[in-house]
Subunit: 430 residues, 2 copies
């Protein structure tokens, strides 16, 4: 299965008639562009896009920008409904099996992954994220669609607008198109007694109103939290703040802009700590709360890059080192205290080094591969919070001693845990 | 092709009759174990091992230790020669195509990789690493073996003892075995007009004398230098020293023992630097020369592990930080000089962090992916050497300033180079 047919010939949305719905941005990415990107991640690389004469040019612009392998089919008579659009795509689908979906539906990554393993119409019995009074109902029995429609009384799920079809569906479409003027995909599904597969509870929605749009943005941002490396402070405080921000900025700024904003906040905190550890510590914690935003909006808008992950990780180290150095300079330590400062600086960097270097060797996230690592305290969010608390209390010497102990102990435990897990992961490097 | 037949029924070696030749250790690994490991790396996982009654038990011990999927065939009459041994393997080879090789031959990784792409007898026209007066000569013409033997006058290559054969060879073997008492593989090759493929100049040898053994060890250790991350000091000095040592210890110590010995030398150098930067600097450079040994003997004995690479990298950071911290403590700096020390410590760690973290993001070596990185000065071998020189001259303050500048400049250039290459490597993280 390499081909997807995406129906984009419907008329503008209720919220803004001037933008075709497939081009509405949700969480930093146009709906159509999101669907294409997600399908590509599952090796569906050819797209047959059915458009109407009005939105043709703008949709083609987007397809070109995406570098997609696409065929554009213009439905000159969109009033004949989306079943007619599907019918028009028939000559451009050469695979026996193909995906059919709607250009105005937003799907999560998990939905797509599960849906692609199904057959026929993908039905959701829960439909947690849509206005169920507006949704199309489906009665699915013995693995086939028995009935479908907005008004039907007996039903056990909702039409997700996502299908895995075989080319035989075009015969059904052809027959219906020859018989009547308006043909919907629902008509074809019903007439063809298409198979159906339940995929329950994953995020998907069509976007019809401003409320739909906001709900979708919120859900996509929330689903973007990776979180395996999150410490307790992150879970309780930082993520909440960063998600609140991400929801509000995801359509406005790029992940890289968020990375730099966080970095600059961190550098400013170090600069201020030279004069006032209290104020510096507070801003340091602010930068730590901002730190999640870049990753969240990158994942929500499907724009994560390797470079982004790399530079983000490096800039975090710069901020940590700069802040602790500034504190040490504020302290103006005697030679006797210097070893504690060195140990704290070293341990702070090495907590990250040991974890990140693990991926260099194993090509796998340390927290995924060696699960007990998750329960070690001393992750960045926890360290920054600790630093802030000690700064507010004015206990700067104590801070260095505590940091020196916690971080280096954590490094030693990391080495021990990786060593004790190595039997499970070890094999000669090929 | 999943099966290899390895002939191990020959009599003991000239050098030490008490150890069967396949069990002689060369560069930290028994000859047979090396061949099995290398073939496994190319997905050849089934082994048919032909032994004689005397060495049967000891060879089976090794096969068990290796966890190999093996079938043992005992040649009760090894005096009938190795062609008879091959004949005995016939019932255990089910694949149409299979590898045939000799239990007393040592091959390099590159030889095996190229040989496996060939057909028939693998012939080497150069035979750079064997005693050519003793080697079996081959005349290869129109892709077939025309003549083979030690004494033949007309020849264009040497028999490497490595073959890619089809099962049809057993018919030829059967016929010869029924006709005469002694049958060599050469007899079968000649009678069957087996195909031949040239693989020139790679390392392979049979091991017959103590000199063969030492030459083989040396070559395997030399071939083990990875070197993409080597700076100029490493190429001119450190590698020469570490190879000299590796050749001598590869059969005696494990890679992990070498790692720890290097680490302890490094820590000792830091300890001494607290009192004498001169002496400390010298020992620091010694630890840097030792630093190549663990990797060299690990690769030469095919025992590289992910954990080994990981821990080695971490211990290097500990030594670097410990040494510079010790120097700083020796200096007992005033508050005004502290920023230089912090910058030098930070830059030194971050040179490694940026490079190693690259692999975490890209699953590829930074020096392979972003080639200009190779030409940046400030790699570890160069830094350590610089530290030693400044220590010997007693220029400790100048050292911190130079290190602070070089390392942080290198970090900035690394970020720039990775950024400017990102178009080439970037893609959404799947």
């Amino acid at each position: 299965m390499r081909t997807a047919v995406i129906l984009c010939a419907g008329r503008g949305s209720r919220m803004n008639a001037s933008i075709p719905k497939p081009l509405v941005r949700v969480a930093g990415r146009e709906i159509l562009s999101r669907t294409i990107e997600l399908l590509r991640r599952h090796r569906i690389e050819r797209f047959v896009i059915v458009v109407n004469p009005e939105n043709k040019d703008r949709i083609e612009d987007l397809l070109r920008r995406e570098g997609a392998d696409y065929t554009l089919v213009v439905n000159e008579r969109p009033e004949r409904e989306n079943g007619y659009s599907l019918y028009l795509a028939r000559e451009h689908v050469t695979d026996r099996e193909f995906v059919l979906t709607m250009g105005d539906h937003v799907y999560s990554e998990d939905f797509i992954a599960r849906a692609l393993k199904g057959k026929g119409l993908i039905v959701d019995d829960l439909a947690l994220y849509v206005d169920r009074t507006e949704a199309t109902r489906v009665l699915c029995g013995k693995g086939r669609v028995k009935d479908i429609g907005k008004g039907i009384e007996k039903f056990n799920g909702y039409d997700t607008g996502f299908f895995i079809l075989t080319r035989s569906v075009f015969k059904v479409a052809e027959k219906l198109v020859s018989e009547r003027e308006k043909v919907t995909v629902s008509d074809i599904v019903k007439a063809g007694r298409i198979r159906c597969t339940f995929v329950s509870g994953e995020f998907w929605t069509d976007v019809d109103t401003r409320e739909d749009l906001e709900r979708a943005r919120k859900e996509l941002v929330r689903a973007s939290v990776k979180g395996v490396g999150d410490g307790v402070v992150s879970r309780l405080i930082n993520r909440k703040v960063s998600l609140w921000i991400s929801e509000r900025v995801v359509d406005r700024i790029t992940p890289m802009q968020a990375t730099w904003a966080t970095f600059i906040t961190g550098l400013v905190s170090a600069l201020i700590a030279l004069f006032s550890p209290q104020m510096g510590g507070l801003i340091y914690q602010v930068s730590s709360m901002l730190d999640g935003v870049d990753g969240e909006i990158a994942r929500a808008s499907l724009r994560t890059t390797r470079f982004g992950g790399w530079i983000d990780s490096i800039l975090d180290r710069v901020v940590d080192f700069a802040f602790l150095s500034a504190l040490a300079l504020w302290l103006g330590p005697g030679a006797g205290f210097l070893p504690w400062i060195f140990l704290a600086l070293f341990g702070t960097l090495m907590v990250s080094y040991t974890t990140e270097r693990f991926r260099g060797s194993y090509c796998e996230d340390a927290y995924e591969a060696v699960r007990p690592l998750r329960y070690l305290v001393g992750k960045r969010d926890e360290r920054v919070f600790l630093v802030m608390v000690f700064c507010l209390l004015g206990w700067i010497e104590a801070l260095f001693i505590v940091l020196a102990l916690i971080t280096n102990l954590r490094v030693i435990l990391t080495v021990y845990l990786v060593w004790s897990h190595k039997g499970k992961y070890e094999q000669a490097l090929r």
